[in-house]
Symmetry: C2
Subunit: 194 residues, 2 copies
């Protein structure tokens, strides 16, 4: 009854600390698999194929789209990014839990296909704090800041499709919350037919 593997989705507006938290979860619970995404962009320095991404050509990616090999995919700045369905299938076969570090649009698609997915939303402390940070940093123009805030606000709206919210105002506390959510989900009584 409890042998069902968990699909954990971590999403956040940019800058909320999602990747840091994801890495911390994997370090704390090495039994969890990480869903390596697929991309058509070339690897950056230090990135390893199969660890950071599966690097494929544009043509290969498009072929995979046609073959329905992705749970979700998107084109960002001219490059494809996608979550291979195979990742989830492998986790299921191995009876291992799997975590997906994925944007809010992608997260929603996962939940549609896997109703049992554990949806975790990482929030910045507040839009106000986010704005203050950007202004203080002095790197972006006011116009650019307004644009970033607008996107963050839109992404924050996706929160309602998630099960949990972790407000990342203190990294140590945020980690504790994330670990607790994982431990709690492992204690959940899941119906066989769920």
């Amino acid at each position: 009854m409890k042998e069902k593997n968990l699909i954990i989705v971590l999403s956040a507006p940019s800058g909320a600390g999602k990747t840091t938290l994801c890495k911390a979860l994997l370090k704390k619970f090495p039994e969890i698999l990480y869903s390596v995404s697929c991309t058509s962009r070339p690897p950056r320095k230090g990135e390893k194929n199969g660890r950071d991404y599966f690097f494929v050509s544009k043509e290969e990616f498009e072929k995979m789209i046609k073959n329905n090999e992705f749970i979700e995919w998107a084109k960002v700045h001219g490059y494809y990014y996608g979550t291979p369905l195979k990742n989830i299938e492998t986790a299921k076969k191995l009876k291992r839990d799997i975590v997906l570090d994925i944007d809010v649009q992608g997260g929603r698609k996962i939940k549609k296909k896997f109703k049992d997915a554990v949806m975790i939303f990482i929030s910045p402390p507040s839009i106000k704090v986010l704005k203050e940070r950007l202004i203080k940093r002095g790197k972006d123009s006011l116009k650019e800041i307004e644009k970033r805030i607008r996107i963050a606000k839109l992404e924050m709206k996706e929160k309602i499709f998630y099960d949990y919210e972790i407000i990342n105002d203190d990294l140590k506390e945020a980690k504790k919350k994330l670990f607790s959510i994982y431990i709690a989900e492992k204690c959940k009584i899941r119906r066989k037919d769920a």
Copy 2:
């Protein structure tokens, strides 16, 4: 949205360590209120009115039943035990979370009235272990042991009405799980209309 107070129900077959875990939760999170039950049995040595129980007479208890003052009540070995509705109402008014240390039959009644209640079931490691413990202890007759096992088995069946199961084979681990469930539930995104 998240200001809704939690109603946490802790239940277990006897001997699973429910009360120890409940006390540990209250010590760790002193902001949680404890739902003090009402009883018609006389106080035992060391028990304080209003802390361990609200001690009332049989007549008073029956009057409270008539006035619908209990969420659930039962008669055990000739004495009444019940959970005053007022406890939950007070917690709601104060916006405080509240924990109920309650048997499986009572737990089910709480869930019926409060759909949002967080239902936690504490299990002994296994029926086999429970039986071995009872035999090893050498205190009960085989007939008595069989009876206890039968009751435990029945109570274990109520597990399906609960959200979480904590198998109490290691107290430290069990505490960690209980604290994690609480922390995770505090991160849950609750709909206003839920």
